[in-house]
C-alpha cells in the first residue's frame, strides 16, 4: 500500500538501507546509507529492525503527504520538521524522536542544520522491491530503491504494513557518537609504504577541507600535498568505504558507501569503521582532521559503537515523550 506521496523531493533524497554486502568480488559496492549509524538509529526510533529501508535526506528535506490512515515516522539527524494537518494547522516536531501522522498530514523536512544528512524511517520500513538483496538505491548503477534513482515529486512510497501505529512515541538525546566533533580516526595502510614519512605526518596534522565535488562515492579533500615515495599508481587493489586514496594530484580522496570496489591509487590509510558515519556527515566546505590509530584501537571503537546500539535496542529507545 502507498503510505506517503512525495510533494517535493528535496535536493537529494533516496531510499537507503544498510546496503548489499557480499558482492564486492563481482564489482558491486555495498552502497546503502552514507551515514550508517544514523540510519540505524532512525530505524530503532521507529521500532524497525536497524537495517530497514528508510529515506536518506541530503542538505534539505522532502515534503511528504500521508496517504495511509496512520503512519509512524522517526527522524535521526539535525533537521527541522514542520507538520501541517488536513485542517491547515501547523506545528513542529523534534528530531531524534518518533511521531505518528494521520491521513492528509503533511510532513516538511527543513534544511539539515548540522551535518549533511538526516534519515527518516517509517514504521514497518519502506517496501520497495529488493535488488541484489537490498532496498538501497545505487544511483550510479541505476537500480534498487525507487526505480534506481533519487525521489521526484509525485512518487509514491509503499509501506510494508498498514497496521496503525500503536504504543507510545520514542525519543532520544542526540547520541554521543553523533555529537563528537574530534578528529576522524584512521589506521595507516594498506599502502602507507608508498608514501614518504612526511606525507604520513601531514595526513595526521593538517586541516583538510571537503571540496564541493564530494558525493556518496567519496570525499575529495583539499589541503597540503601528500608525496608518494614511488609511482602514484599501483596494480589495482581492493578498496572499501573509508579507504583514503591518494592519486597523482597528491590530494586525498576518502571513499564512501558507493565507492568503487577496486582502484589503482595507493591508499595511505583507512578510516576506522566506527567513524564512517562521521565521514557521511561532512558537507562541502567542512573541515576535518585525521588521527592515526592502530588496528586494535579501531576494533575497540567499533565494538564500543555496537555495544551502544545493543544497549539502546535492549532498553527501548529512551524516555517516553
Amino acid at each position: 500500500m502507498d503510505a506517503l506521496r512525495v510533494l517535493a523531493p528535496g535536493l537529494l533524497t533516496s531510499v537507503q538501507d544498510v546496503g548489499r554486502p557480499g558482492l564486492r568480488r563481482l564489482g558491486v559496492p555495498a552502497g546503502g546509507a552514507a551515514d550508517p549509524p544514523t540510519l540505524r538509529l532512525a530505524n530503532l526510533l521507529a521500532g524497525n529492525p536497524q537495517g530497514a529501508a528508510a529515506l536518506e535526506v541530503t542538505h534539505g528535506g522532502p515534503t511528504l503527504e500521508v496517504l495511509a490512515e496512520s503512519v509512524r515516522v522517526a527522524l535521526a539527524g539535525e533537521c527541522a520538521i514542520g507538520i501541517q494537518d488536513a485542517g491547515g494547522h501547523r506545528g513542529e516536531a523534534a528530531a531524534w524522536s518518533s511521531l505518528t501522522l494521520r491521513r492528509g498530514d503533511r510532513l516538511r523536512l527543513g534544511r539539515v542544520a548540522s551535518g549533511l544528512r538526516a534519515y527518516l524511517a517509517v514504521a514497518g520500513g519502506i517496501a520497495v522491491a529488493p535488488v541484489l538483496g537490498s532496498a538501497a538505491t545505487d544511483l550510479r548503477g541505476g537500480w534498487g530503491g525507487l526505480r534506481g534513482r533519487a525521489l521526484r515529486a509525485g512518487d509514491l512510497l509503499p509501506l510494508a504494513s498498514d497496521r496503525p501505529a500503536g504504543g507510545g512515541e520514542t525519543r532520544l538525546d542526540p547520541p554521543p557518537w553523533w555529537t563528537r566533533d574530534g578528529a576522524v580516526r584512521a589506521v595507516p595502510g594498506p599502502q602507507d609504504g608508498h608514501f614518504t614519512a612526511a606525507a604520513l605526518e601531514l595526513l595526521a596534522t593538517a586541516q583538510w577541507t571537503v571540496t564541493p565535488s564530494s558525493d556518496r562515492t567519496g570525499l575529495r579533500l583539499d589541503g597540503p600535498e601528500l608525496e608518494h615515495r614511488g609511482a602514484a599508481e599501483i596494480v589495482s587493489d581492493a578498496c572499501l568505504p573509508g579507504s583514503i586514496q591518494v592519486p597523482g594530484s597528491r590530494r586525498p580522496i576518502v571513499l564512501l558507501a558507493d565507492g568503487g570496489t577496486t582502484g589503482g591509487y595507493p591508499k595511505i590509510a583507512t578510516v576506522a569503521s566506527a567513524d564512517l558515519g562521521a565521514l557521511g556527515r561532512l558537507r562541502p566546505g567542512a573541515r576535518l582532521r585525521f588521527e592515526l590509530v592502530d588496528v586494535a584501537t579501531a576494533e575497540r571503537l567499533r565494538r564500543e559503537l555496537e555495544a551502544w546500539f545493543a544497549a539502546v535496542a535492549r532498553g527501548g529507545t529512551g524516555t517516553p515523550s
Binding site: G27, S236, A238, G242
Partner: protein, 226 residues
C-alpha cells in the same frame, strides 16, 4: 620502493578494523593471480570464524571480517596457516566461457593501432587474441567488469593518454597486459578492439555477473553483419 612480482611469503596488511589484505605482489602476472585465487578457494572451503566476504584482485586478496567475531591478529594467524598449507587449485568452479566478439571497424576502433604497435596485421592480432586462453583475475571498477590475464605480450600497447568520454557497453579492450570488457557504457582509456553482444551484468539475474574470478574465457571472432 620496488616489489618483486610475486613474493614467496605474502604480506598481511590492515584496512583498519574492517579487513585484512593478503598481498602477494605488485604486478600483472598470471602466477600471482593464481595464488590469490587459490587462497580464496582455500578460505571458502575452510572459512576462519568471522570472515564475511572476500575480494580477489590481480595481486591481493581482501578479507573482510566481523569485528564482533574475530580480530586482525586472530584472522592473520588463520590466514598464515592457510597460505602455508599445500597449494590448492583455484576453486569456484572455474567455468569456461566462449565470448563472441565483432573485431575492428566501428566495434573496435583501436584494433589497427594495437596491430600496428605489435607489428602485426589486424587479422593476425585478432587470431592472437582469439587463440589465447584468458583468465578472470578480478572484477572491479564497474559491476561485472572483468580484468582478464592471458593477453599475448605483443598486444601490450598502453592506455590512451586521454580517456574516451564514452565507451560502448560490451566493448572488448586491451591495455597494460590485460583484456577487459565494459559491462555498461562508461568513460574509459583502454584500447577498444571489438565488441560483444554478451550481457555481462544484470542486477535482476542470479548470479548478477556472468563471469566470476577464476573463470576462463576464449574469445570467438564473429561478424556482426553475418
Amino acid at each position: 620502493m620496488s616489489f618483486v612480482p610475486s613474493q614467496p611469503t605474502p604480506r598481511f596488511l590492515a584496512a583498519a578494523d574492517a579487513a585484512v589484505v593478503v598481498e602477494f605482489g605488485d604486478a600483472v602476472d598470471e602466477a600471482l593471480s593464481a595464488r590469490v585465487l587459490a587462497l580464496e578457494a582455500a578460505l571458502r572451503r575452510r572459512p576462519p570464524p568471522g570472515v564475511v566476504e572476500t575480494v580477489p584482485t590481480l595481486r591481493s586478496l581482501l578479507v573482510l571480517y566481523d569485528v564482533l567475531v574475530t580480530g586482525h591478529d586472530a584472522l592473520v594467524a588463520a590466514l598464515r596457516e592457510l597460505v602455508s598449507g599445500p597449494p590448492e587449485a583455484p576453486g569456484g568452479g572455474g567455468a569456461e566461457w566462449s565470448i563472441p566478439v565483432d573485431y575492428g571497424g566501428e566495434a573496435g576502433p583501436d584494433l589497427e593501432e594495437v596491430a600496428a604497435a605489435a607489428g602485426m596485421s589486424p587479422a593476425a592480432t585478432v587470431a592472437a587474441h582469439t587463440g589465447a586462453l584468458h583468465r578472470v583475475a578480478m572484477l572491479g571498477h564497474l559491476p561485472g567488469l572483468p580484468y582478464l590475464t592471458g593477453l599475448p605480450a605483443a598486444l601490450g600497447l598502453g592506455r590512451h593518454p586521454e580517456p574516451r568520454v564514452r565507451v560502448a557497453a560490451g566493448s572488448v579492450a586491451v591495455a597494460g597486459g590485460l583484456t577487459c570488457i565494459y559491462p555498461v557504457a562508461a568513460p574509459g582509456g583502454w584500447r577498444i578492439i571489438g565488441r560483444t553482444p554478451a550481457r555481462l551484468f544484470d542486477p535482476a539475474a542470479a548470479p548478477p555477473a556472468v563471469l566470476a574470478p577464476g573463470d576462463r574465457v576464449r574469445f570467438v571472432a564473429v561478424d556482426a553483419a553475418g
